[in-house]
Each structure stands twice: as structure tokens, then as C-alpha cells.
């Protein structure tokens, strides 16, 4: 309502100052609008709208934070460097284990030319070396699990970046983790070495096998 207007009537339109509407008409219009508002937007609706606004603000903040993290750097530099380093560890341990086995095999050959007692003692120690070289297989598999986890993170970052409108929308075939090769159950069974606390030892496995008899 315009200041200075008559309490009984207001101007209906700027180009028709003579036309007046009554207080009753104004009341009816206001009540009509108010009833419409009351019908469509409940307190619960307002709460939802508030939550959605909060969510939008959260997404904007997350986008800024993700952009600040430089996801391309994580994917193209840090993860690549980490996987390269891990691959190098596997290669070096394999080389070193090969050298240890070379030496052990030579010792074993020399032991065979000795008298029985020292030969047996040497052979026993060579066996310990062979057993210890198991580590290369186990560490290789453990590192393989880490590489797979890193590639999984890489793939997730790509997806997130793409979802948020970033530049890295092209999926990397090399970065995607391996999918199970055959049936779901077979793929699920391949978990690699477990941490000692989670792993079944040979005695437990023997007991499990015996339970089938």
C-alpha cells in the first residue's frame, strides 16, 4: 500500500487513478494469497528447502576444495610416482632374491662335495634360505594389492572430478582396477595375502580341511 493513500481505497492501476478498490477487496486478495502460501509451503517444506540450500553450499565448498587439491596432480603425478616406486620395489626384491638363490644353490652344490656331517648342516641352512625367500612372493603380492588400491583411488578421483565438472573426465583404462575374471564368486575369492591378524595359519587350514573328511 502506498503511503498517503486513503485507508478506504487504493489506486487500482497507475493509468486509471479514478478506479478504486475497497478495503474488503484488498482483504479478500490478501487472504487468498495467504491461503495459497499456507497450502503449498509447510514448515516441513521450508526445512527441506533450507537443507537443499545447505547442500548446495556444501557442494560449492567441496568443489572449491577439490579444485584446490589439484586432482590432476594427484592422478598424474603422485599416484603414478607411487605405483612406479612400488613396481621398482618388486623388481629389486625379485633381483635380490634371485641373487640370494644363486648363492644358495652354489653353497648347496659345494655342500654335496663335503663330508656327510658338514654337508647336512650346510644343506639345512640352505633350506632356511630357500624358505626365507618366500618373502619375495608375499611382498610382491602385498605390493600388488597396494597398487590396485591406488589405481582404485585414481579411478574414483577421475569420476569425482568428472562429476563436478572438472577437466579430467576421460576415464583411464590402465588406471581402472582389475575386474574379476570369471564368476563373481571366483573373483571375490582372490584377496591375496592377509595381514597376520586376519590370516589363517597352516594348522587352522589343516583343521578346516580335516572337517571335510
Amino acid at each position: 500500500m502506498t503511503a498517503g493513500a486513503s485507508p478506504e481505497s487504493v489506486s487500482r492501476a497507475p493509468d486509471n487513478s479514478a478506479a478504486k478498490i475497497s478495503r474488503q477487496e484488498i482483504r479478500e486478495v490478501v487472504e487468498s494469497v495467504a491461503s495459497t502460501l499456507h497450502g503449498d509451503i509447510t514448515p516441513a517444506d521450508l526445512k527441506v528447502i533450507h537443507e537443499l540450500e545447505s547442500l548446495v553450499r556444501y557442494i560449492h565448498t567441496a568443489k572449491r576444495e577439490i579444485a584446490a587439491l589439484c586432482p590432476d596432480d594427484i592422478r598424474e603425478k603422485h599416484i603414478r610416482e607411487a605405483t612406479d616406486e612400488l613396481d621398482a620395489i618388486v623388481a629389486h626384491t625379485e633381483d635380490a632374491t634371485g641373487a640370494i638363490l644363486d648363492a644358495a644353490e652354489k653353497i648347496e652344490a659345494i655342500a654335496n662335495s663335503l663330508e656327510v656331517d658338514p654337508a647336512i648342516k650346510l644343506a639345512e641352512e640352505v633350506t632356511r634360505i630357500y624358505e626365507a625367500c618366500n618373502f619375495q612372493d608375499i611382498t610382491g603380492q602385498r605390493i600388488g594389492k597396494i597398487v590396485t588400491a591406488l589405481k582404485n583411488i585414481e579411478a574414483r578421483i577421475e569420476s569425482l572430478t568428472a562429476a563436478l565438472g572438472g577437466a579430467a573426465a576421460v576415464p583411464s583404462s590402465s588406471g581402472a582396477p582389475k575386474t574379476p575374471k570369471t564368476a563373481k564368486s571366483d573373483g571375490d575369492l582372490l584377496c591375496g595375502p592377509q595381514l597376520p591378524a586376519n590370516a589363517k595359519n597352516q594348522d587352522e587350514i589343516d583343521a578346516l580341511l580335516k572337517s571335510f573328511d
Binding site: T97, G98, T127, I138, K181, D186, L189, L209
Partner: protein, 128 residues
């Protein structure tokens, strides 16, 4: 049961180091006729080309896993009686159950020692 130490043994693993370790340990046990395969499909081909008295196989290999190899062996009329030991880092109950259901004769968890290898081989082919 008398064990023929001249029998052919096939060891299957995608890690050359592990093949070498198992071969050396078998040699210490008196088994010199040992062939190697790098995965299940390579092993299956070798099994069809030559007669083996024992298969010692890893599980986690590509393209054919040890479990798939075991299943192939068990459904092949000529190969199904071949003793089969799984030697693997897969040590969950589900793995052991799956291997047993597929017909494995024994199961060794990595890392293993020479005594365990000997015991398990003896349990499958007889004391030596």
C-alpha cells in the same frame, strides 16, 4: 605306499622366484623331474602333453587361476586322478572350502617351510 621319486611333478606359479624355491626344495626331497608352468592354461597344456604324478599349483595367476586349473583337471577324464596340492597366499576359509569342493588334495599357505611341503606331499602321494 611306495613313492616313485622319478615321477614327474608339475609346479605352477607366476612368480619365477617361487618356482625356483619349490623346485629346489623338491630336489632336496629327492624329486628331480620337475617341470614348471607360469599359469593354469600353460599347466593344462603341459598336463595334456605329459604324464605327471603330482601338481603343485599357486592360486592367484592370470589368465587361468589355480582354482580354474584344478576344476579343469578334475573334469578331464584322463587327468582327474592327478594329485593336486594348492600352495597359495589365499588363506581365507572361503578359499579353502572352494578348493576342497573343487577337489584339491591338500592346501599349503604361503609363506611355507620345507617341512610343511614334505608333510603335505606325503599326505597326498605317500610317505618317502
Amino acid at each position: 605306499m611306495s613313492v616313485d621319486k622319478a615321477m614327474n611333478i608339475l609346479i605352477v606359479d607366476d612368480y619365477k622366484t617361487m618356482l625356483r624355491i619349490i623346485r629346489n626344495l623338491l630336489k632336496q626331497l629327492g624329486f628331480d623331474n620337475v617341470d614348471e608352468a607360469s599359469d593354469g592354461s600353460d599347466a593344462l597344456q603341459k598336463l595334456r602333453d605329459k604324464q605327471y604324478g603330482l601338481v603343485i599349483s599357486d592360486w592367484n595367476m592370470e589368465p587361468m587361476t589355480g582354482l580354474q586349473l584344478l576344476r579343469e583337471v578334475r573334469k578331464d577324464v584322463k587327468l582327474k586322478a592327478t594329485p593336486f596340492i594348492m600352495i597359495t597366499a589365499e588363506s581365507k576359509t572361503d578359499n579353502v572350502v572352494a578348493a576342497k569342493e573343487a577337489g584339491v588334495n591338500n592346501y599349503i599357505v604361503k609363506p611355507f617351510n620345507a617341512a610343511t611341503l614334505k608333510t603335505k606331499i606325503e599326505s597326498v602321494i605317500g610317505a618317502f
